[in-house]
């Protein structure tokens, strides 16, 4: 297979995004036309991008193109290798869904908002993502990174009339630039050592770095990519920014934009730096565990549906980092085979999370579209007016909770197996960390299941709690098709995992020199195996079929019983009071009460009750109840930091006297210092 079709298709996909950006901007006066252009161009771009990704993965060997730019160190270099192909695939699958979904979703923007500008930013985001995943030059990568941050900023603040949105946007743009700064410094170290900004040159150069320089490079890259991925404690922007964006954008932000951090870590740590020391791998693993557990614990306390989902992104990034950290540790310890399995677990979870998180955000978007609120306490009973949305959301909830037989279970299972294998493979006391990390993964999974019982049940089940949910309606057909596509993908990747695994071969071969898919499949291609000494096996297909076969006789038994002895509908037991109403129902806050009490050390919950009495203290006329938890990281870490920066800046103002003479003196002194510095060299 020659390189032409891959290059052509990739270029066409980039061209589709570029054309989409400017064409929808040009048609901003005709909203309907802009909407069609925006969505169809995105669909075309994603389809072509997906095709290119499949071709790239099948090819196995990297394809590179480079166009010199005339600027030193900068060239338009692209390298389409297995890792780039995989992340482009993880981009294409949700984007196909989001673009179909947007046909219906953007319709309500018509006449109210500028769809042309939305389309411009949307396509710019997709374009920058595609380029970031394929760039082979550090500066090209950084430019794509910056465009991505700015386009995402524009989309996050799309509802800019809202104060909360503007604040979230500001926080996002500040954090995005801190991370870009870290990356610039990190790449600076590598470029200085290699004399070139091409990714391909970094591997050799990294070997010549002194150990302190290597440490500095690792820390800078981990900070930069970690902020983008939203790991704890750098996560505070994520639950602020993702929920306020339009829902189709939230799906992309949580689904794929934060994965650029994972892409960066994989690319730099495994490829460019050529492996990191074992303490660095442990750090990644531990940060992963902390992010997973704290992410889900904070998610449990949310009753804003989209913020809840945003916190779950932090949790899942944590799970991915557990796999990635294990891969880094195994690589240093000389277990390339285990490292490859760990990498497969991490990358598979990356793809799976991209799919089910987009699905859940699109589902939340349908709910928001229909009820106009993100507050779960005002929802309820939506399964009746919105049956398809409810079904898709339920599938997403099962997948994200890591329950069999969907895709989330499979990647978490692989992560467990990796962690278990770590105990046997690593010497010394640190190996105790692996099973402990496994038990924390178990805690995370169980808490996620609890959280999604809450999210699904409070939103979709029982009686409506507000007028908006009583008058809810099903989403338009295009939105349902978008969600349906992702639901299918969840099921396919779960049940068909053994057929999907060869996709990872080229990537593990490239990064670790091992192909593992053949070791991971057994039992006539139906059974997934851990492929190691500590091996276990599981088969999602057989589990699904077995469940169906066992449910069948039970259903028959019930059907016979119902036929002979009848079935009727009756009122719910309400303790003899007249009629069950929405006020009697359990709420999201009530559901998480038990966990709020148990983890009160972390949450520091507070509540205020104010009652107005008329005659007797037993019959209050009016009660005001308020409860909340302390935003620990914001209060303990970021608020002092912010205060320090403000204090420092106001001190610095004394040298900014506003006098032109003083400024001329500064310039002169700087010039002299620079000259001295230059002469000394």
């Amino acid at each position: 297979m020659n390189t032409l079709p891959l290059g052509m298709i990739f270029a066409l996909s980039v061209a589709a995004y570029l054309a989409g950006a400017f064409a929808s901007l040009a048609c901003w006066r005709k909203p309907a036309l802009a909407r069609y252009i925006c969505c169809s161009a995105a669909l075309a771009g994603a389809a072509l991008g997906g095709l290119a990704a499949v071709l790239g993965i099948l090819r196995g060997t990297p394809v590179a193109w480079s166009v010199p730019s005339g600027i030193p160190l900068f060239a338009y270099s692209f390298s389409y290798d297995a890792l780039a192909g995989f992340f482009n695939l993880a981009l294409a699958i949700p984007v196909v869904a989001v673009s179909i979904y947007s046909f219906g979703y953007l319709k309500e923007f018509e006449g109210k908002r500028n769809i042309g500008f939305f389309g411009f930013l949307f396509h710019l985001l997709l374009l920058s993502l595609t380029i970031a995943f394929t760039a082979a030059n550090a500066f090209l990568f950084l430019i794509a990174w910056e465009v991505m941050a700015l386009a995402a900023y524009g989309l996050v603040t799309f509802y800019h009339e809202d104060r909360e949105t503007r604040r979230a946007g500001l926080l996002y743009v500040i954090m995005a630039h801190i991370d870009a700064g870290c990356l610039l410094l990190g790449f600076g170290l590598l470029i200085q050592a290699s004399g070139s900004a091409e990714f391909a040159s970094f591997n050799k150069a990294a070997m010549q770095l002194s150990s302190s320089q290597q440490t500095a490079a690792f820390v800078l890259f981990f900070l930069g990519f970690g902020i983008k991925a939203g790991v704890i404690p750098f996560h505070i922007w994520l639950p602020a920014a993702h929920p306020v964006a339009p829902s189709n954008v939230s799906a992309l932000l949580s689904g794929i934009v934060i994965k650029t951090g994972i892409y960066g870590m994989t690319r730099i740590f495994l490829d460019s730096l050529g492996g990191v020391p074992s303490w660095a791998g442990l750090l990644v693993l531990i940060v992963g565990v902390v992010s997973a557990v704290l992410g889900v614990l904070y998610a449990l306390m949310e009753h804003d549906l989209k913020r809840l989902l945003a916190y779950h992104s932090i949790e899942n990034i944590g799970i991915i980092l557990m796999g990635l950290g294990a891969a880094l540790i195994f690589r240093v310890a000389g277990h390339p085979m285990l490292a490859a399995v760990a990498l497969v677990a991490a990358m598979f979870h990356t793809l799976n999370h991209a799919i089910f998180k987009s699905l859940l955000f699109l589902g939340a978007g349908s709910v928001l579209h229909s009820t106009g609120t993100r507050n779960m306490e005002e929802m309820g009973g939506l399964i009746r007016p919105m049956p398809v949305t409810a079904f898709c959301f339920l599938m997403g909830a099962i997948a994200i909770s890591g329950l069999p037989p969907l895709n989330g279970f499979v990647s978490e299972w692989l992560t467990y197996q990796t962690l278990l294998a770590g105990f046997g493979a690593i010497g010394g006391l640190t190996r105790i960390l692996f099973p402990l990390a496994g038990s924390m993964l178990a805690l995370t999974g169980a808490l996620a299941a609890a959280c999604f019982v809450k999210a699904f049940a409070i939103t979709f089940l029982a009686l409506p709690r507000g007028a908006e949910s009583r008058n809810a309606h099903e989403a338009p057909r295009t939105m349902l098709i978008g969600m349906g596509w992702l639901t299918l993908a969840c099921a396919a990747l779960g049940l068909g995992v053994t057929w999907f695994l060869p996709v990872f071969d080229a990537m593990t071969e490239q990064l670790l020199g091992q192909q593992v898919s053949a070791h991971l499949v057994t039992g006539h291609g139906l059974v997934l195996s851990a492929g190691m000494r500590t091996s276990g096996t599981v088969s999602p297909v057989v589990i699904a079929v077995g469940l169906m076969l066992l449910v069948l006789p039970a259903a028959l038994l019930v059907a016979i019983g119902v036929r002979r002895f009848g079935r009727k509908r009756g009122p719910v037991w309400d303790c003899g009071l007249p009629g069950l109403s929405a006020e009697n129902e359990y709420t999201a806050t009530a559901f998480s009460k038990a966990l709020r009490m148990i983890f009160s050390v972390l949450y520091k919950p507070r509540r205020e009750i104010q009652a107005v009495f008329d005659v007797s203290p037993y019959f209050p006329k009016e009660i005001r109840f308020e409860s909340g938890i302390e935003p620990t990281f914001e209060k303990r870490l970021y608020a002092p930091l912010q205060e320090f920066i403000f204090r420092f800046s106001s001190r610095m103002r004394t040298i900014q006297a506003g006098s032109i003479h003083a400024y001329l003196a500064y310039i002169f002194v700087t010039l002299v210092l620079l000259l001295l510095f230059g002469v000394r060299k």
Binding site: Y416, A457, G536, L557, F565
Partner: protein
């Protein structure tokens, strides 16, 4: 293929028949220990049969989730039952799911049951679901640590493989790590099966209910399925405990004699464990809900100690 199917069918029959018997045994033993007559060990069969022959009332507010939950609970419990070794070391479906699949399939059943509890809109259901999900979430890490200790000893999460290794070292349970892991898993067993001191299976008082609150609105055949599934889940967890820690009598082939002997040993071991459960249940009072995490923390620490002591001994 045919072997898998026949073995599955045999084990399924065993599972469906032994589970209510075990529940009945526990109830009778408990009654005797409290100097009551008790309903007799066949009562659970009579309950299920009676419920199957009753009409069903579905709450007006419920959706299809309410109806799907009993099937999911029943399906997952029975499927899990086919993945664990009962009388022989070879479980019929152990190739298709090891101990991790067992834990996660049970979680799938619980997920649907909790949704079913919330689906009716009654506060009791919500209360039960919230407590059930909370307690199971906190029990999960302790359970996994104890399981990992055993799995790391066998170098496998496959239950048949774990049983096969266990049979070769029958007296391994005397090792400190195994005893600690057993203690941790025993506490988890009590929490997961909803027994005193964590939950009271005999109560219908709203302040103390957990599992019963969740299934309050179920009736007729649906309730029969849920009750049956609960007893199967209890059997599965107890089997996991007796067969991984005390593998005596597990037969390694499929001859009538060894399987028969295995069955006798298996029932005897179950009876002993049931006695232990009953003893704990009779001599303890139910804990306040917010004291339960402390108990489960003890289980977690026992699990961690078990893991650490695999280094030392």
């Amino acid at each position: 293929m045919t072997e898998v199917l026949t073995n599955s069918a045999l084990q399924l029959v065993l599972l469906l028949l032994v589970a209510p018997l075990l529940s009945g045994m526990i109830k009778t033993l408990k009654a005797r220990l409290q100097t009551r007559c008790g309903p007799g060990i066949l009562q659970s069969y009579r309950d299920i049969l009676k419920l199957l022959r009753k009409g069903m009332v579905i709450p007006e507010t419920a959706s299809w989730i309410f109806s799907a939950a009993p099937y999911m609970v029943f399906g997952t419990a029975t499927l899990v039952g086919l993945m664990i070794p009962m009388t022989t070391t070879r479980a019929p479906l152990s190739l298709f799911g090891g101990v991790l699949a067992v834990v996660y399939l049970l979680a799938l059943g619980r997920f649907f049951l909790a949704l079913g509890g919330l689906d009716t809109g009654s506060s009791f259901g919500g209360l039960g679901s919230s407590r059930e999900m909370t307690i199971s979430a906190i029990a999960e890490p302790a359970m996994m640590l104890a399981i990992f200790t055993v799995a790391l000893g066998a170098n496998s999460t496959n239950l048949s493989e774990m049983a096969r290794i266990a049979v070769t070292q029958s007296w391994r349970f005397l090792a400190p790590s195994q005893m600690l892991a057993f203690a941790a898993l025993f506490i988890v067993l009590i929490a997961e099966t909803g027994r005193i001191p964590v939950d009271n299976p005999a109560t219908h008082l709203e302040l103390t209910m957990i599992h019963e609150a969740m299934i309050l609105e179920y009736s007729g055949p649906y309730l029969a399925l849920i009750e049956w599934a609960s007893s199967i889940k209890q059997l599965v967890l107890m089997t996991l405990l007796v067969n991984t820690f005390f593998p005596f009598g597990l037969s390694s082939d499929w001859t009538v004699r060894t399987v028969g002997l295995g069955l006798v040993f298996y029932l005897a071991k179950l009876l002993l464990l049931a006695c232990l459960v009953v003893l704990v249940e009779t001599t303890n009072a139910k804990l306040r809900l917010f004291r339960v995490p402390e108990l489960l923390m003890v289980a977690f620490i026992l699990g961690a100690l078990a893991l650490i002591s695999t280094f030392l001994f």
